[in-house]
């Protein structure tokens, strides 16, 4: 199975995970481990100044040696997103950023002009930008053309688990850009991830599908396998579809039975 290259980094796993909404930190750690992921996303939030934040997710992720990808979740404007990315760079020592600039909090769909503006500025500031985008070929092409390291169209709304709602658009995007295409959001179960990979996507980023499953660790394993299954199937060149049947057992050499066709 071929490797995933984003910017100048090479990854064995084509599964990128979010760290949010797990029942508890231990379940998160075991899920991440089992999933085989190498990249984990984190958000940036105000430090709680009144008490010590006992659960320090970052230390776990650091100990387990993940490549940490900060996001700009919750930002509505380019200005907010750019500052958040700068803060993330300062806090985490990475110039990679999962760029989210959303339009509202009901759909969490991107705000396209603000997203483009933020991407442009962050690229000028030498960030490696991985933008969460609509499944819109034009926006994705613009993002790729301006120098984003990958484009990350959504499969369905964040946290919806609705799967790959429009495989056609993803297919067009895959054909229109050179950089990796990563499906970000929408995957709800293993077959969704496999379908994304079979469409030729380079990776899948997910969070709720694992953290909100009844058994997150088991689902993490399912996702690991599904990503590999889908990628291998893509590389295998699937059989052609046909409306009618085609016997797999040989049709010649059948024995004759008296009265069989009476």
């Amino acid at each position: 199975m071929s490797k995933l290259t984003i910017a100048d980094k090479e990854f064995d796993s084509r599964l990128i995970l979010g760290s949010a909404r797990f029942p508890d930190p231990d379940t998160m750690r075991r899920s991440l481990k089992v999933s085989g992921t190498e990249i984990v996303t984190v958000a940036l939030r105000r430090a709680n100044l009144d008490r010590d934040d006992s659960e320090d997710i970052l230390s776990y992720l650091d100990q387990d040696d993940y490549f940490i990808l900060p996001n700009t979740a919750g930002c509505y404007t380019a200005k907010e997103a750019v500052l958040t990315a700068q803060m993330a760079r300062e806090a985490l020592g990475t110039n990679w950023v999962k760029l989210e600039v959303i339009g509202d909090d009901e759909t969490l769909f991107p705000d396209v002009p603000e997203l483009l503006k933020a991407a442009e500025q962050l690229i000028m500031e030498d960030f490696v930008v991985l933008p969460y985008a609509n499944d819109d070929p034009i926006t994705c092409k613009k993002l790729a053309d301006m120098g984003c390291a990958a484009v990350m169209p959504l499969g369905a709304p964040i946290g919806s688990g609705m799967g790959i709602r429009n495989p056609y658009n993803l297919q067009i995007i895959r054909e229109q850009v050179e950089v990796p295409v990563i499906v970000d959001a929408g995957v709800g179960t293993a077959s969704d991830a496999a379908i994304a990979m079979e469409l030729g996507m380079d990776a899948v980023l997910m969070n709720s599908a694992i953290s909100q499953a009844k058994h997150p660790v088991k689902m993490a394993e399912a996702m690991k396998l599904a990503i590999d299954a889908g990628r291998l199937a893509y590389e295998s060149g699937r059989m052609t579809r046909r409306l009618y049947a085609k016997a797999s057992s040989p049709v010649e050499g059948k024995m004759e039975v008296t009265g069989a066709n009476e």
Binding site: S19, L44, R45, L49, I57, L83, R89, A91, N207
Partner: protein
Amino acid sequence: MKLHVNGDTVDTNAETVQELLRQFDVEGNGKGTAIAVNDSVVPKENWNEYQLNEEDRIEIIRATQGG
């Protein structure tokens, strides 16, 4: 001096970012924390000398779980 720290108004004697962080018991040299004053990031290496002014808006943020 009155500052706005993470949205709350705070009365403090701290004169630099470093002092403010110490006051809040924020582990300042650890990874995972960043500071902005009035919408501009203050790099770690400047925390020590960065002078705060009355009514400054300070954001102290940390990496946390996110998708």
